[in-house]
Symmetry: C2
Subunit: 253 residues, 2 copies
DNA sequence: AACATATGTAAGTCGGACTAACATTAAGGT
DNA sequence: ACCTTAATGTTAGTCCGACTTACATATGTT
């Protein structure tokens, strides 16, 4: 066959037009960023791999950062499916499931260091996530939907948004998984779900910090050696138990 | 006076030799990195500010990254003195003092975003911090020194090391402040200080994650809006209370 | 077939890191 | 004072990579 076997491959057939250069460039860039990092990444390398001249990418991306943004979206999709797969096998809202989610986050960062860095730095303003509004809607109870229903709807809105032109941030889809999990945890323990964000953000900080300290080698010279799974497990468990204790004693958050 | 008023200023006097170009370049670079970030930083700009040609820096630094490493050291010193000043006004080893330290960490990151990024990325292997060894020495009790004495000695060693040729990392000096604080907390609550590192690293992760999520604008589109002081306070309090609870119930860490 | 549009190339500009050859100054020994 | 030497600066380049302009080729609509 004279056609490329997949549309995203390099232009090896000698044809003047590539066929799907845009996809080929994104694929090549994901690989290049993964190994060399966003700093070491050059359009020249991506062009060479795709088998086109260095000027060709500018027919598909306004500049280098546009291409890197596409790489970011791919990375967030990758992380999102990992987290959804992980969440699917768990009973929602338990300390164990939340811990497992955190470990998944850190493991993704560890196994995709350069992509993870890019995901964090390369932030573009995303859709608003207005928990206040969504929980008010739930509290009113007029639509008969459960909390989880509403979160699913919200998630759906987010996904739609993410498919729109210049989709800014699939990262929110990952965050919504954590939100749902924390909301369920609070609900199970009789705590007002209004406080979801107040609890979810510190938990995010725990795994995010662990991930960055790990990939920036900050644990490298410490003895006894550091186990990041232990950090996530310990921090999550202490944090949630401390929360429950304080709620039991004071009756509020 | 024909001399520069400080040795680190730009070479405005028209003299062929600058006087203290090395220091002038570091000073200029700290400013430039602070505003434009390490990515936006150019040797050209630094040279222009110092009033010398673009080739001059190579008489003092082997390359750009050497100069950036000096900037990193300055940044760590800055953060270290902030944390020491903060710790000086506190009773060591209380939840309040540990919380205050965390807030200082996040505030520094927020007010020195680009420097903080550089400090984290620009890691070079530092001196080993062998807590196992130091706590064994303390447990043997043969030298009659208190735990805090030993940590002070260790800190002194670290500082000496940091003054040596190619001093790799003043960051460890910051970390040692946290270590001492956590060790004191554990000791006060009857917990074996052997576990200091197991407790200190998750606490570091909490503030480190909070700092990065903040400066990477990950809290930007959330409602209700996020207060990072509240995150640090809440996470620290829940974490330490959860730890104490579990220790009380199980008798071990 | 003719045209418009999409997608590619070639050849150049520009900025910034780095280098080689040369110039100036500071410091110290005689 | 004078000469030598090392330290520290300059000039004028190279190299690399992002980006642009003008031109070439393919595609698909009529």
């Amino acid at each position: 066959m004279t056609q490329n076997s997949t549309s995203a491959e390099a232009n090896t057939s000698g044809r003047y037009h590539h066929g799907d250069l845009r996809t080929a460039l994104i694929d090549a860039s994901v690989e290049l960023v993964s190994t060399a990092g966003a700093d070491g990444f050059t359009l020249k390398d991506a062009s060479r791999i795709a088998g086109v001249s260095v000027a060709a990418p500018y027919r598909h991306f306004s500049d280098k950062s546009e291409l890197l943004h596409e790489v970011t979206e791919v990375a967030f999709s990758k992380m999102g499916s990992l987290m959804r797969k992980n969440a699917a096998g768990q009973e929602l809202g338990t300390i164990e499931s939340i811990t497992a989610m955190g470990k998944t986050y850190v493991r993704f960062a560890s196994e995709n260091q350069q992509l993870f860095r890019l995901m964090c730095e390369n932030h573009r303003g995303g859709p608003d996530v207005n928990l206040e509004e969504i929980f008010k809607e739930h509290a009113s109870g007029q639509n008969g939907k459960t909390l989880i229903d509403l979160l699913e709807i919200k998630k759906h809105d987010i996904n739609n948004y993410a498919l729109a032109k210049n989709a800014p941030n699939k990262g929110i889809a990952c965050f919504s998984i954590l939100l749902k999990s924390v909301a369920t945890f609070l609900d199970r323990n009789g705590i007002d779900v209004q406080h979801t964000l107040k609890i979810a953000t510190p938990m995010w900080a725990i795994v995010h910090g662990t991930a960055f300290l790990l990939i920036d080698h900050k644990f490298q010279n410490l003895t006894p050696s550091i186990d990041t799974d232990d950090i996530v497990e310990r921090a999550t468990r202490y944090f949630l138990n401390g929360l429950l204790l304080e709620y039991k004693e004071t009756g509020h958050i």
